[in-house]
């Protein structure tokens, strides 16, 4: 039996390696996607186009305005003197935000009355708007502090962000991206492998040999496992060395987690492969699985923000667990005890899907 499996595994590796197209496809797209998305996926907002509608000429107003001008988050592109101009500019997205200081601002401030400024934000890009809002708040806060002097400061808020003191979104995204790129590669390899053999006719030749269904599955799983390891580690290394993401956790834990993750991904790929009769259908299956799974995994948006039913669904998604583990290991030095609650559900998913695939395989042989 081992001889048979060994022959099969060797053949799978040779096939992947000798086909120059699949060799290229395993290397180039992940790299390209890594570079592109690492650079693109940023939650920071910089150089936001700001418009100024300042109706007050006095010093306090000007001082506030100059703080906005000096801030790296904003970039003043226009000044308006009437509401219509402001509306047009926001409508046509010439500016992302407009700072409106009313006529009575300086007078109110001097008299100790509540002084207010308005920040008009383009709600079409609500995420950016929220971020800009918090930047603006920061600028105003420091203005308040400077204006009032330390004595009247009522509040001294120190904020600290654990694990990511600079709020660097790349630190947040890249560990997740590692996971996503790995599963895309694994799914495409496994889902297409059986479908392709079936289309070429080589699958039939396999079925006539003494290979049992379980052996065929093992033969397909092991190469995918190896490739998963290599991809994940290479991308992780790139994330650390090229993009400066720290890796404070245990490499052993990382690889154990990857192993479990890849097994569950292979299981899913093989199930898709058993159901699909042609490569086209296999591609469709992978698409249909990945679209919601990638988005609902905590990769970009926190799971905690999702409605309860969606959160419940993510429990079935191995990407969710691996993303949490990945971030934990990269940034938090996650200990084994805390990793375990993420590991066992993935292992369970893996067992179920691999078992299901075996069953489907044997049935297909009928």
């Amino acid at each position: 039996m081992w001889g048979r499996i060994a022959a099969l595994i060797l053949k799978e590796f040779k096939m992947l390696w000798k086909d120059s197209k699949s060799r290229m496809v395993l290397v180039v797209p992940p790299l390209v996607q890594l570079v592109l998305f690492a650079s693109a996926a940023t939650f920071e907002v910089t150089d936001a186009a700001l418009g100024l509608w300042i109706e007050d000429r006095a010093n306090p107003a000007q001082e506030l305005v100059s703080r906005f001008e000096a801030s790296p988050a904003f970039h003043v592109v226009a000044r308006f003197d009437n509401p219509q101009a402001v509306q047009d500019a926001l409508d046509s997205q010439k500016v992302k935000a407009v700072l409106h200081v009313g006529q009575t601002f300086s007078a109110d401030a001097a008299a100790g009355r509540p002084a207010r400024v308005q920040l008009l934000l383009d709600g079409r890009k609500s995420n950016a708007a929220l971020i800009l809002q918090s930047y603006a708040l920061g600028i105003v806060e420091s203005y308040n502090l400077a204006r009032a002097g330390q004595a009247i400061a009522e509040l001294n808020i120190q904020s600290r962000a654990w694990f990511n003191p600079n709020f660097d979104s790349r630190w947040f995204i890249l560990p997740g991206l590692t996971v996503l790129l790995t599963i895309v590669a694994i799914l495409l390899i496994t889902a297409l492998s059986v479908a392709r053999e079936r289309e070429l006719g080589t699958f039939e030749q396999l079925l006539v040999t003494p290979l049992r269904p379980m052996e065929i599955l093992v033969g397909k799983t092991v190469p995918a496992l190896c490739i998963g390891f290599v991809e994940a580690n290479v991308i992780a290394a790139l994330a650390c060395f090229a993009y400066g993401v720290p890796f404070v956790g245990s490499a052993v834990l990382f690889n154990v987690a990857i192993a479990v993750f890849v097994l569950s991904a292979v299981g899913i790929g093989l199930v898709i492969s058993s159901i699909a009769k042609t490569q086209q259908q296999a591609i469709l299956g992978v698409f249909l699985f990945l679209s919601p799974a990638a988005v609902l995994s905590g990769f970009t948006t926190p799971i905690a923000n999702m409605p309860d039913w969606a959160q419940a669904l993510t429990h079935l998604n191995p990407i969710r667990y691996m993303v949490t583990l990945s971030r934990g290991i990269f940034l938090q030095d996650l200990p084994w005890a805390l990793a375990w609650p993420q590991l066992w559900p993935m292992a369970l998913i893996g067992c179920v899907t691999l078992g299901f695939a075996t069953w489907l395989f044997s049935r297909r042989l009928e």
Partner: protein, 575 residues
């Protein structure tokens, strides 16, 4: 007759490969021109060039008075039927016809009139509402023809229209096409069946892109007058004798035809003394030459003689008396019964042929016997193992060669051999010696490190057969092993199989080619899911000897059997 199509020095390249080179011919109206040759000869390329789907790289091509560049003018006057009939399977018969009518801009009145004629002609009138995908092979063919005929073209191009279809439907098709030719249509019928070539008015023989011969088939065959003979074979050892005779210098070709050996002499040779090889009882009589004989002698002039393969050593045999046994084998797909209580048995060392048209249940039966499909009822025993119970064990004793090349094309020959030997559990010394044996016996030394998919067809075939034999199986299953191969390669292949059978390997083979059936010891004819006849090829032919037909071919026998079966069915229904 004015020429409908004129080719001069026509050539077409795909990359560095010359699919066609220097083809010169004229095709006339009202004639059926046969385009003959094995796979890869260039038949489809030539048809596509004439149809305007490809542009020539060299030479000139004139169709219906228009040059190659001006093709759009005559699209409406050419009917083209590609290899898989070009039908939309999820459209009904009527819808397919309507689509063609729309494409050719036929108005309502013309349409209705032509539909009626064609549906009558092809017998498809009662099936207009059926989805094309649900028609039988023969009916699909007729529909394809009807669609191509709809615009009343002046030129009809048919790409292997009779491939895989039962002989009765094939004859009907000929009848239809013959009638068309009578109305002045020029017809090009491409085929790999050499007996069809004989029925054409003129022919073009292609081999590897070159035109080997053309003209009238009878002239071509007449060259071999006086050079063809039939010799009676003694009992047993048919293959050994065939090899011995084929090796004699004056003999151009020696093939097994049932109980006889068909001999073709080389030009200017006399019939040699056969007593050494065949024993004293050798009797010979002259016989009418066939198209294939002329083809083979032409090819042989072209190619170096193929070395006779080494004789197989006797392989381990099972103690049982029966190598393959099927008892009441049945298979259902939903409500459709594909195979209905098929029973037969094969002795060790026998070559058994399963014949029948596509969709008759032959492939399903075959697949059940090699363990690819489970029977719905009945039992199958192969090499002493009950397939219902121990399929994996059975597979260790079975070798399989599929119709399409099903090895790993982007791996090298050696990689494929390594893989299959590993998968069949060969290790260590045994593995290396078997691989070495395969490479040597099948002449694979020169290509051992090349990609399997890039090899020419003959090498691929030998590799596939070699991989099937690595583990010294007791039973060999061959699914249409020589489809698309030229006659010489076919002979070489069968001579190897013969050697294996003599060594005790049991062979189960399926085929469409009736001549191939002659190599078998016994045949089983599968039709409509049942085995309607079984026995030796000669016994089957014997049943249909009549005054008009003193020497029936296997195809005549086949058609007769089917006719009997259908008539019997009607009687039973009437009773």
């Amino acid at each position: 007759m004015p020429a409908t199509v004129t080719l001069t020095g026509l050539g077409k390249n795909f990359g560095t490969m010359a699919a066609l080179s220097g083809v010169t011919a004229t095709l006339a109206a009202g004639q059926i021109t046969g385009l003959v040759g094995p796979d890869g000869a260039g038949k489809t390329t030539l048809l596509r060039l004439i149809a305007g789907l490809l542009t020539p790289d060299s030479g000139t091509l004139e169709v219906l008075g228009h040059a190659a560049e001006n093709r759009d003018a005559v699209r409406g006057e050419i009917g083209y039927m590609p290899q898989r009939f070009g039908l939309y399977e999820d459209l009904t018969v009527q819808e397919n016809l309507d689509l063609q009518a729309d494409l050719h801009d036929l108005d309502r009145a013309t349409r209705r009139e032509r539909f009626e004629t064609l549906l009558q002609f092809t017998g498809l009138a009662p099936f207009t509402g059926r989805l094309a995908g649900q028609l039988s092979g023969g009916m699909k063919q007729k529909l394809g023809l009807a669609c191509a005929l709809l615009p009343r073209p002046k030129l009809m191009l048919l790409d292997e229209p009779s491939a895989g279809v039962d002989p009765a439907s094939r004859r009907e098709l000929w009848r239809i096409v013959r009638t068309m030719a009578g109305t002045g249509v020029a017809i090009v019928w491409s085929t790999a069946y050499l007996d069809e070539a004989e029925r054409c008015d003129s022919f073009l023989l292609l081999d590897r892109g070159r035109l080997l011969a053309s003209g009238s088939p009878s002239d071509f065959t007449r060259q071999l007058e006086g050079r063809t003979f039939l010799a009676e074979l003694p009992e047993g050892q048919r293959h050994r004798i065939q090899r011995g005779v084929a090796a004699l210098p004056p003999i151009a070709d020696a093939t097994i035809q049932g109980r006889s050996l068909r001999l073709v002499l080389k030009a200017q040779s006399a019939l040699p003394d056969l007593t050494d090889v065949m024993g004293n009882s050798a009797t010979t009589r002259p016989t009418r030459p066939r198209f294939e004989d002329a083809f083979v002698s032409l090819l042989q002039a072209d190619r170096p003689p193929i070395a006779a393969p080494p004789v197989q050593e006797a392989l381990t045999r099972s103690a049982d008396g029966i190598a393959i046994e099927a008892r009441d084998l049945t298979r259902d797909f939903g409500r459709f019964r594909a195979v209905d209580k098929v029973s037969f048995s094969v002795k060790p060392g026998e070559i058994f042929g399963l014949l029948g048209p596509n969709g008759a249940g032959k492939s399903t039966t075959f697949r059940m016997l090699c363990g690819l499909l489970a029977p719905s009822a009945g039992s199958a025993h192969v090499a002493g193992v009950d397939l219902g119970r121990a399929r994996a064990t059975a597979r260790e004793r079975i070798g399989y060669m599929s119709q399409k090349f099903s090895l790993y094309g982007n791996l090298s020959v050696r990689d494929n051999l390594d893989f299959f030997s590993g998968v069949y559990g060969l290790a260590g010394r045994r593995r290396s010696s078997r691989i070495a044996w395969t490479i040597e016996s099948f002449d694979l030394e020169s290509v051992v490190n090349l990609e399997a998919g890039s090899l020419p067809l003959g090498f691929k075939q030998r590799l596939a057969l070699g991989c099937a034999l690595l583990h010294e199986p007791q039973v060999l299953f061959l699914d249409e092993p020589t489809s698309g191969v030229d006659p010489l390669m076919r002979r070489e292949f069968w001579s190897r199989i013969g050697g294996l059978a003599e060594g005790g390997v049991t062979v189960l083979v399926t085929s469409h080619f009736m001549e191939e059936a002659e190599y078998c010891d016994r045949l089983g004819i599968v039709y409509a899911g049942r085995m309607i006849a079984s026995g030796s090829p000669d016994a089957m032919k014997q049943r249909f000897v009549t005054a008009e037909l003193p020497e029936p071919t296997l195809e005549d026998a086949f058609v007769g059997l089917i006719r009997e079966h259908d008539a019997g069915g009607q009687d039973a229904a009437a009773a």
